[in-house]
């Protein structure tokens, strides 16, 4: 099924959502991206991607956690679905498999 393939940026964001747990909302993901992957993207780009992931059924969301700095607006907290986890595993397996077949690259690297 084509929809289970995920792009590199999507994968990154899925991983971050898992990592951030209860705090996985748009702006926090953006911050984490900067921190862990050294990538600066616009807020719109993050929102666009998580919306796409939700449409693909890889994440679910619910609203909660309004703060003063948000002007009393709630956050949309994302959590990964079973399908999302599966997609992540699959993506990792493919890569690990490929890496193991090219030992020279692995040797040179380490």
């Amino acid at each position: 099924m084509g929809k289970e393939y995920i792009g590199e940026f999507e994968e990154l964001i899925l991983l971050l959502i898992v990592m951030l747990k209860e705090d996985a909302y748009g702006l926090a993901i953006r911050k984490a991206l900067k921190e862990h992957a050294d990538r600066t993207v616009t807020i719109g780009a993050v929102h666009g991607t998580v919306n796409r992931l939700e449409k693909k059924g890889l994440v679910e969301s619910n609203l909660g956690g309004a703060t003063e700095s948000r002007g009393g607006r709630r956050k949309r907290i994302f959590t990964i679905t079973a399908a999302g986890k599966k997609a992540l595993h699959r993506s990792r397996d493919i890569k690990v498999n490929l890496w193991s077949q090219i030992p020279e690259l692995a040797v040179n690297k380490f």
């Binding site: 909302y25 748009g26 702006l27 807020i43 719109g44 929102h47 948000r70 709630r74 956050k75």
Partner: protein
Amino acid sequence: MKPQKNIPPKSADQFLTWFCKGELLEEIQGDLHEYHEELTERPKWKRNFLYWFHVFNFLRPFAIKKSRSINSNFSIMFRHALLISFRSFKRYTSSFFINIIGLSTALTCATLIYLWVNDELLMDKFHENGDNIFHVMEAMEFPSGTVVGGNSSGIIAPLLSEEMPEVEHAVQVARHLDNTTLSFDDKTIKADGHYVSKDFFGMFSFPLIEGSKNNIWDNPDAIVISETLANNLFGSTYGSIGQNINFRNEKHYTVSGVFRDVPNHSSEKFDFLLSFEGHTASQAYLLKWSSQSVAVYLSLYPDADVQAFNEKIHDFIGKHSERHSYRIPFLVKYSDEYLYGEYEGGVQSGGRITYVKLFSIIGIFILVIACINFMNLSTARASRRLKEIGVKKVVGARKATLTFQYLMEAVVIAFLALLLALIFVFILLPEFNAITGKQLGISFNLDLMLTLFGITLLTGLMSGSYPALYLSGFKPIAILKGKLNTSVGEIWTRKGLVIIQYTVSVILIVSVLVVYNQIDFIQNKDLGYNKDQIIHFDVEGKMEQAEHMDTFLDQMRNIPGVVMASSTRTKLTGDNWGVGGIEWEGKSADDAIYFQHMIAYYDLIEVLGIELANGRSFSRDFSAENTKVIFNEAAIAHMGLENPVGKIIRFRGQNKEIIGVVKDFHFDSFHESVKPMMINFMPNVLSQFMVKIEADRGKETLKSLEKLYLNSNPGFLFDYKFLDNDFQELYASEQRVSILSNYFAGVAILISCLGLFGLAAFTAERRIKEIGIRKILGAGMFGIVRMLSADFTKMVMVAIIIASPVSYLLAKEWLNSFAYRIDLEWWFFVGSGVITLLIAWLAVGWQTIKAAQQNPVNNLRYE
């Protein structure tokens, strides 16, 4: 800096709410607000910019609201009309380009003019209490006529605020500190300043960065300086309070406050302020009725009636000083002075508002010309779209729908033109600023955008209205039968519109010729003195003493390259005060004439190259020159003296012998005629050195002069100006008008010609078969060209005939504001007409020659 409340720009939020899907809005806006909160460290503009950036970044398919009425009739029709518009642009490329070039040029001009006009209208409007601030003017009723001046006596301020209950504050401002030498440590700076009384900062909104307006003037030797001046002298504004600034190497003033730099929108410019109260302690004459050199401002309580107040103070000066009862004070609103600053015979007679109006009208004219092109081309091309209209009507389109479609087409073109125009404006703005001497910028604020949007929409609707109503009114049966008689009325409308275009163009060309010639006349007119190669600089410090000045003048003369040197107190570019009280033999009792007063030193008349009509000038070879006097011819004529040299007059109780008469020379703007002038020899009050230098050694000479000056007068700067530059500044506004009207006239002509070009192409195309047949029957190329251009020639001729008297009246009106002016020559009008005609022929000629050269076989074979 005080912590500011950190609020994201409201307009950005509104924009987001407008386009964003409702279900996503909460989280997106929340994230954005939180993000904005994190940016507290950055400057405000950057925060807002980033916020806007991220808001725009949400313009992505997932976030944008689905149009609610996506399937409604209206939006389908709308999209259809848009589609048809683009198709018709593609099909009729040439008329599309003519329209878009014309409209975008016109919109560029209109935008630039709008920016300029808007900026002019904002001048002096930033004072919070602006509606209640007034300037006390004086109308001085002389027998020769009423003269209005902006200066009064300092004493009037406290008297008015004591006696008139309407007055809240009264402020005195003495502008006596231009180009003043200030220094701190080893830094020396020249700066402009005023003496102001203590309520100045309470009345005008010049915000203070350091110091408080309540106690800033407690010390009579206080100085309040601008941010820039503080930065230049001390390196920063912080800690500048309490520093001592050396004033003209005479005296120290203590900084008691720093104000934010005077904004561009203030007509009042100053770098520092001193206490008026402190100044009058030694210069008490400023408070006397006999001195008229202080500007007085009042703020009235909001409910005061200015009209009534003016009536109340009509005799105010007379009541306090009988001798000055000819001076009638009246109030004008401070914020209106910039635009309405000119008086003629005591009556308000315009000012810069004239230019504001003039350019607004030109802007509108240019837009109208471009709109007319659009109307003409689209109605002319109607015949080619007849089938489309016929079919649409048969299928059931109503008149309203078709009207909408054509209006839509026009509006779309107008907005495409706006985009182009904005690009042009960006490119042209620096150049435009250089010409107008302003710092205009396009800031994307709501006001500007709404105005541009409004102008463009209006342009689109205006240019689309006629074709839309005209095209949609056809009868479908007649169209499809191919029988469309162009009605006489329609042709007349089209011709009428072309005539209007050309009338406006001719008027603009005449105006350019007149303005250009007048400016040229002024700048090259014989002034009666030679303003070239003369520099002038301030007499300061010890130079104010006669013996130092004499040595210095001598030393200067010894510098190779210096032709002559002298000093004076008179500005040769006008704005000098007259003196009264001169008595001569045979003076009539009611003669209250004021003489212009020039104060001269030895050689001044020679330095300036003023010609003597009679007698001699002041010279070192004679003694007691201060008991002698020189007049100009206008003065002698007024006094009615025959053989004036040797006669005695009385001035300020002193007998003075006339030793010479100089020929009249212009020491004032050309808006004024040469007034009677008295030249006195007064060594103690000289304020300007005047030095004539040789043209070809200017640079070295100036260098040696600077060296000499710095050595002889330590602590002061050698800050010179060329006299002819001053003269150019005097006519800066006319110069600007001249340059701008050049450009605008060019644009108007260009747009008109574009229209004519399009019309000619169209006519040639429609008559292609006729041309073919004529050629077969033996018509020559010349005959055909003549046949095709005859119509246009007639239209342009009619335009010239209409435009000539109109432009004559306009030019006469403008020239009347000059006392010395050119005559309106016949060739201004004939010349403009010929130019217009030639350009029109050029535009038409190319098309007609092309049409006449075609092979008739190609044109006729399909029949």
